[in-house]
Symmetry: C2
Subunit: 302 residues, 2 copies
């Protein structure tokens, strides 16, 4: 984490899917400059190979350059698919030793979690350049939360959680995209976080698939001993007539009956415009009270 | 496995998704009777709870009744979603000790693999009542392969495999639906099959998701030491413009470059009408020659 009084520089890389419209990266760079950041775009950030932002070698080279360049923040242009292939080929210790603050989302969950698993180092999840800063509009709160997290000013993230279980706990915050997390189970890239605080989101996954992934985490022992499971947004799925009333609420009910871990709902995080910037691998606190949840982040800088 | 000269009895259960049209089960029962089987339908086979064929308790009771009834074969009416929830609650030793031959597909892969993992017992994958015997037509070859497998007459399954790597090996056959298999990684329900022969199929999964699941198996060590990976049908996915040429062939190419295991294509198995009935957990042989693959099954009865 960095705590400069002056905003610092951001280096944009594309470790996952190809950028479809280069102008979105240009617009994102302008917007980030408007916030006071210096911005550099990696030379292969706009590369295209099949559905990927360049070949595996190109995307790995982009990560290597990101480690060595001068800006303290490294942001993914977008998610998609592509990091899974790269995980065994990334020098995680070099990533950790760089001291850079890496940020991304969705497919980037593999990066966040592998870095934590392999080195214990912290990184961020939140905005990506194209989705959050490269479109027609920018969500003001998303931008504010991003800037406050980077400057170390964000101490508590409070959000409405009317359906939350009672909890008051401290632990390591970890998680991200559920499908990516589930895809790491059994591999050396899933961190073991005893007493952790696990947050999850997903997009385009039917509730039965969300439940199947949660069942895997449950049966693999990943949920054992977690202090809380915080649910972000699960969006863009379609229920069918034969679901006969089975929906996301059914899944949350099943989770509560099955796993003895408090569930907190309402986290502003997911494949949506309004999203918090969250530290993956940092010590945090979580407490619920009067229909609100409070994620205490002030301990993230250590 | 059973080797009666006379066809024996089949007991139909619904451990997964709800049967949508009861007439399909009635028609399947008639067709199976027409093949010479006696057929009984479990009393909760047509139950409906949300998207499931009854509550978890109802579906578990159906499995318990299947163990205790008289017919030697137990067939799932259909797949869907539902076994994942039940895995920790099934008495696997009782299933193995029953000596029954269980058969199903898709979601039923969880049953096949958990039984193998927990007890070493063999079961079958292939036709389900509704999909294969409850529709307008029945595939003659699917029916013949089903009957020959049950009677122990099927010694070698030969199929066109023009893109197969050279292989001549013997080992335990295991696998089924890739998404279900991947969902078991890290849990006590994924068997460890050193020197195994792994077969896979899937439906409605984009190639990038197929690859992500294979990457998980690779990085989790599941593919290490396998003697062959046999690919069945991967169907009903839709490529997008931004895939830019990335397709199922790209995935197979990536798999071959990444994992040092011979890949055999063309297995008639998947969410398609023409499918073999295969033993999960039995010793088999696999050999390729002149664009053909030969799966030697005669050792399946032991």
């Amino acid at each position: 984490m960095h705590h400069h009084d002056q905003p610092s520089g951001i280096y944009l890389i594309s470790p996952s899917g190809a950028v479809r419209d280069p102008q979105t990266v240009e617009l994102a760079a302008q917007r980030l400059k408007g916030m006071g950041f210096k911005v550099s775009v990696d030379r292969s950030a706009l590369a295209v190979h099949e559905r990927f932002a360049g070949t595996d070698a190109q995307r790995l080279a982009g990560i290597q350059r990101a480690i060595k360049q001068k800006h303290p923040i490294v942001m993914a242009t977008r998610g998609g698919y592509g990091l899974s292939r790269l995980l065994p080929h990334i020098d995680w210790q070099a990533v950790a030793d760089s001291g850079k603050t890496f940020i991304g989302q969705s497919d980037f969950t593999a990066f966040n979690l592998a870095l934590l698993a392999q080195t214990g180092a912290c990184s961020l999840t939140g905005p990506t350049a194209v989705f959050d800063f490269g479109g027609k509009t920018v969500d003001d709160l998303t931008q504010a939360l991003f800037q406050e997290m980077l400057s170390g000013e964000l101490e508590i993230l409070s959000f409405e959680a009317p359906d939350a279980d009672a909890v008051d706990a401290r632990g390591i915050l970890w998680g991200g995209n559920l499908a990516m997390l589930a895809s790491l189970v059994g591999t050396p890239y899933l961190p073991r976080v005893p007493g952790g605080i696990l947050f999850l989101e997903d997009v385009g996954e039917h509730p039965f698939r969300i439940e199947r992934m949660l069942a895997q985490l449950w049966q693999a022992g990943v949920l054992d001993g977690q202090q809380a499971i915080i649910l972000g947004r699960f969006t863009e799925y379609r229920l069918a007539e034969h679901d006969q009333g089975y929906d996301l609420a059914s899944v949350v009910g099943w989770l509560r009956r099955t796993v003895k871990v408090p569930v907190v709902t309402g986290l502003p995080y997911g494949h949506v415009k309004l999203k918090a910037t969250l530290p993956v691998g940092a010590q945090v606190g979580i407490a619920t009270e009067d229909g609100m949840a409070h994620l205490v982040l002030q301990e993230h800088h250590h």
